[in-house]
Point group: D5
Chain length 92, copies 10
């Protein structure tokens, strides 16, 4: 079951450069694990913005929320989720 998520990152001003770098490292690890096991089907950078569009493939809303709220940078992200269905013209 697919969902499109737009995730916008905004770090608070008081965060040190070290904290940011450390969190970005954890984020990468977490993100790549999700891609390896197939639950994060795609992730793209929005050109010119500290934001991404991601496609998640999960079993339920609860699983999706569990995944999203476990992102290391979750407290600093604004996320909007759109549920997707099969399109009648899709050949997949």
């Amino acid at each position: 079951m697919l969902f499109l998520a737009r995730m916008d990152v905004q770090f608070p001003a008081h965060l040190s450069a070290e904290d940011v770098t450390r969190m970005q490292g954890l984020e990468k690890e977490y993100s790549q694990a999700l891609q390896q096991d197939g639950r994060l089907a795609s992730i793209w950078r929005v050109v010119g913005e500290y934001a991404n569009y991601s496609v998640f493939d999960v079993e339920s809303n609860d699983e999706l929320h569990q995944i999203l709220s476990s992102f290391p940078m979750y407290p600093f992200m604004k996320i909007k989720v759109t549920p997707l269905a099969k399109h009648p013209n899709s050949i997949r």
Copy 2:
């Protein structure tokens, strides 16, 4: 080069049911041809809306506009295009 497009369809009130059905047929044909040749990489229905999110894989902005404006239902669609870049955490 990838682009995300959200496409919302709104038919004018005066269109006959036949015209709508005919256009939807042409649309399917056109959409599937684009998927066959790889330029329309993905297309999903937005749940509850006469709208889709689509991922296009093209060589240039001009090619993308050419593709979009040739959709049979183009005059009845509101399209918003977001250019995508490779995400640093992507494993693809």
Copy 3:
């Protein structure tokens, strides 16, 4: 799996009063069948608006889109869907 949907109805000007009444009858029938089988868990009128908030309990995004797009008044409704997860403070 729960989803909240806000559904706003807007009939086109050219629709006859008879067509509206007939569609409202079909709508009631369809809506009540969905409530009987548990897939439409709740439906409330938004005070002062031709709109409702509804809670759907379904197995998948595809099932939800199938349900929504089969509403007799679907062509005249603007629907926004919000996926819901279990709240940590909920006692249910």
Copy 4:
């Protein structure tokens, strides 16, 4: 009498992790007491957001404001309230 409330939480940057945890504990207690006595009929997490949709069952606007403004995290929440009426198609 039912009301739908969307509640978005945003903690100010200076709040310590301990303060947040303590407030979340108080919040849970308060929320569950409201559910026990029936005034908070439902509460759901919005997937991907630090937000909830809640349905309140109260006697009056004053009672609802009293309930909402007594949430321990009230100073850090943005709340939008929608009054609900019985829907003509509802079987309840």
Copy 5:
């Protein structure tokens, strides 16, 4: 129990001047009856707009929706309702 409603009127283009005048007459009658019995506590014109702000004094959400949806011009009005509570600084 008080509610503030903003009501914006928009007649469809095809309505004849006679229909508009007739509906405005019915509207006045209905509005004044509501004022006489106290359920419509105040009604003001928004300067420069075909719109009003009104204060309703009712027993319940259901009663308010019943009142609003019975306005003769209801099909041509966009209404937004805000529930009001006693203000701690009010001397009334």
Copy 6:
């Protein structure tokens, strides 16, 4: 001459609880004086929000701005003013 004002309060994070309480006391005093002399005709709390809708009865725009900008909490309020006129259906 009547005006509707919506006033939203937002205190900056650095304000001490004492300062807030003190200002709320001054605010109450000021607000009630305005009600006593009739220039603040009504004030209601917006349910669930640190906001109010108020009706002012003044001689001029300058007088209204003088009144509003003298609220003790003015620096922390976002105010939107709507000029009101007599409604043709009003019985007052």
Copy 7:
């Protein structure tokens, strides 16, 4: 007492060119009379739009609504009014 009004004109599709021209003639006459007697202090075209910003100098909100709602093209205009006060830095 001054008010700024932004007025956007939108004619319905069914209006004939003759009707438009006739109304524009009446509008000019009415507008210029208001300018002659000083109640319409200034009127400017918004570059690139069928819209204007106008400054009105009137005794009351009721007078302003009376003036605005008597514009021949009033039914086809969307008007937003902003009450103005003397600015402390103004030398007038």
Copy 8:
């Protein structure tokens, strides 16, 4: 003196295909004359939309409005104008 304009075209439903084609022909002629004499410095299609961004080089606001309101398709365009100044980092 430079201005950026975004121009969105929307034809009313009743316009015949012939009228549209004829207007597009006149539009091209007019647009190209403006480009020849340098007043329309650049014009680009917004990808996926019946819209353009254009840069105008004119002597005054009045000249710009004169140019814009003379576009053959002006009645069917929504135009937003942004005045531009020399950027301190520009090497031109």
Copy 9:
């Protein structure tokens, strides 16, 4: 050549009362000099807001940006500029 500007002031929380007062003094001086030489044709306070609408009379966009960006409080203002043209109904 006329431009309408809406200027909203928002001081950051950390600014001392003395800095604010000092800047307001400089602002008044600067504003009145602009009025004396005719480039700031009018300035009005928006009722209830720390904001103004101003009409500027300048030779070019560059001159206008030079004027605006030299306001002592420029770093704390959000400014929106609308280019104005002569209105066909204006008698001036």
Copy 10:
């Protein structure tokens, strides 16, 4: 391949005047290098705002994101990118 970008700068309150000046120097250098090599085709100041509209001429979305995210002031800019295509009326 052309893209229009609107870039709004907002420095956090804690940044020292020296840091701002230093960053503006780096920004100028970087911006002018991009103009020299032709990838930044145009850059204009938005009148009255700390913002610019820029036209980029690049080979791909990835190149554009690389360029934008390397601006020295990138962490303090909100950027919106619009892909541009050749306009059928353009003579270039």
